[in-house]
């Protein structure tokens, strides 16, 4: 079953097409990888899907319903949520307060305070942050700040989670743990799209990969197909 369908999505910044005519579909329950060189338009594509940017052309369908043009907070409440490349946590709030915010405002329907607190506790335990429960989120290490973002996103009870470079800047052990976490999220029934530069992670956990370059989709396939594709190797290694 398709959960997300993107058709001819295009965004211009000035005269430059940051994303141009991108089509993609995401099946429920899969982990889709999104790769490409810097400036390929990956984050812009995320911004267009999550409603932060309004596309110049094309449309985004989530669960069969058109969501392009809706405000980000509406998109979030419909069950599509994202994390950020550069951690966007609320630094002065505690970890719990950060996650509670997602549970309170991101839920599809208005949720009671007590229930929201339970949801937040669940997400904190799920991401292994219980030890940092009451610390200001800004005082955590990078890897834990990224987990706070994931926990906050999970607390909104999403059906589709978009992870933007969750593993950038992590050491190999931390990357391993992050991969584990992504798989557990998928196993809990949440569909995932992830932008990632850490190839090991992408090749290991994604069922399918899409490659972007200069705003266009240039390849799509299983990890094996992508890693042997001539066009992809040319783009990454040059000639």
């Amino acid at each position: 079953m398709q959960i997300l369908h993107v058709e001819g999505l295009t965004k211009y910044f000035g005269g430059l097409a940051a994303v141009s005519g991108v089509d993609l579909t995401v099946e429920k329950g899969e982990i889709l990888g999104l790769i490409g060189p810097n400036g390929a338009g990956k984050t812009t594509l995320f911004n267009l899907i999550s409603g932060t940017l309004v596309p110049n052309a094309g449309k985004v369908l989530f669960k069969g319903e058109k969501i392009s043009g809706l405000k980000p907070y509406v998109v979030c409440r419909k069950g599509l949520v994202r994390t950020f490349q550069s951690c966007k946590i609320f630094p002065e709030m505690s970890v719990f307060q950060n996650v509670l915010l997602g549970a309170l405002f991101g839920a599809p329907e208005k949720i009671a305070w007590k229930k929201a607190a339970e949801v937040a506790e669940e997400a904190i335990a799920f991401t292994g942050l219980s030890a940092f429960h009451d610390l200001p989120a800004g005082s955590l290490t990078l890897v834990n700040q990224k987990r706070v973002e994931v926990a906050r996103a999970l607390a909104t009870k999403p059906e589709l989670l978009m992870l933007d470079e969750m593993m950038a800047g992590l050491n190999p052990t931390e990357v391993g743990e992050a991969m584990e976490l992504v798989k557990r999220i998928r196993d809990s029934g949440i569909t995932i799209i992830m932008i990632e530069h850490v190839m090991k992670a992408i090749m290991n956990i994604c069922g399918r990969i899409i490659v972007l370059d200069h705003g266009k989709k240039i390849a799509e396939g299983t990890p094996e197909e992508i890693s042997t594709s001539k066009t992809v190797i040319e783009i990454y290694l040059g000639e």
């Binding site: 980000p72 907070y73 966007k88 946590i89 609320f90 709030m93 915010l101 405002f105 906050r152």
Partner: protein, 288 residues
């Protein structure tokens, strides 16, 4: 010694007004990113509303809490939604919005002030309410200033609880720390910005009502209070409610000490403090 304690008490009693004035501006600038130069005009309107209700209709000035505050809340909400929201949608970057929103606030200042002059003229007005003193030993407390202190501390406290304990308060704090992330986590940012501006205007209404109880009022009084609010906000740290409270009291005491020497030096001393502060600690006492 007694004289000094009297000065100190006076300062504390005034500090409450300063704190509320600053809290309003802090919300508008710290969260909604609008440096509302017209803040003092909202205060003036709050003061005149209270004055008119009291002198023309004989309504207790304290009732102004139920009139001036809510009335300005509505006005603030509409101004943000109609003017500043439109402006924000048309400015390309947040930095550009800060500049143009300040210019728009200047426009509002002149419009509100001119309308007020048209209605109420330029004479200095005032009324007296609870204008007598009680003594504790040798220390003198004027009753109206005591009432002001209690009310302003209560307002600060209630607002602090609102920000920390309620859904909307939580959304406002999130929006002030990172508006984009808050939006993507399901917070309706535009509504929160309008609410912040409206709460700021409501604080101005409260401050105006309190000011009218102890000071003469006039239609061009606004700028003086805008300046005081800016100084307190810088003193306490932008966006910090406890900072506004403590900063307000500090400036109140400082003002009272200067006034005891020569009341005419008051504003000059405030500016001096402001300059020193910007040079030495621009992030404020409690700023990030």
């Amino acid at each position: 010694m007694i004289a000094f304690i009297n000065v100190l008490v006076n300062g504390l009693l005034l500090g409450g007004i300063y704190a509320i004035t600053a809290m309003g501006l802090s919300l508008q600038y710290g969260v909604a990113r609008i440096l509302n130069i017209a803040h003092g005009e909202f205060i003036m309107v709050g003061a005149f509303l209270t004055f008119v209700l009291h002198t023309k209709l004989g309504i207790n000035p304290l009732f102004g809490l139920a009139v001036a505050g809510p009335a300005l809340f509505v006005v603030g909400y509409l101004i943000q939604r109609i003017l500043f929201k439109t402006l924000k949608d048309r400015t390309p970057t947040p930095a550009a919005f800060e500049g143009s929103s300040m210019l728009m606030a200047f426009g509002i200042l002149f419009m509100v002030q001119s309308i007020a002059i048209f209605i109420w003229g330029t004479n200095v007005q005032g009324y007296s309410y609870l204008a007598y003193s009680v003594y504790l030993g040798d220390i003198r407390f004027s009753v109206n200033r005591l009432v002001i202190l209690v009310i302003s501390v209560l307002i600060c406290l209630l607002f602090y609880l609102f920000l920390t304990r309620t859904r909307a308060g939580k959304a406002i704090r999130a929006a002030s720390q990172d508006p984009d992330a808050a939006g993507l986590m399901g917070v309706d940012i535009n509504k929160m910005l309008a609410l912040c501006f409206a709460f700021g205007a409501m604080m101005a209404g409260f401050a105006g009502m309190l000011i009218s109880m102890v000071f003469p009022i006039y239609t061009t009084m606004g700028m003086q209070y805008t300046i005081i609010a800016i100084i307190v906000v810088v003193l306490g740290g932008l966006g910090s409610i406890p900072g506004s409270l403590i900063g307000g009291f500090l400036l109140g005491i400082f003002g009272a000490i200067v006034s005891a020497k020569d009341p005419g030096l008051n504003m000059a001393a405030y500016y001096l403090l402001f300059m020193v502060l910007l040079l030495v600690k621009p992030s404020g006492l409690f700023g990030r």
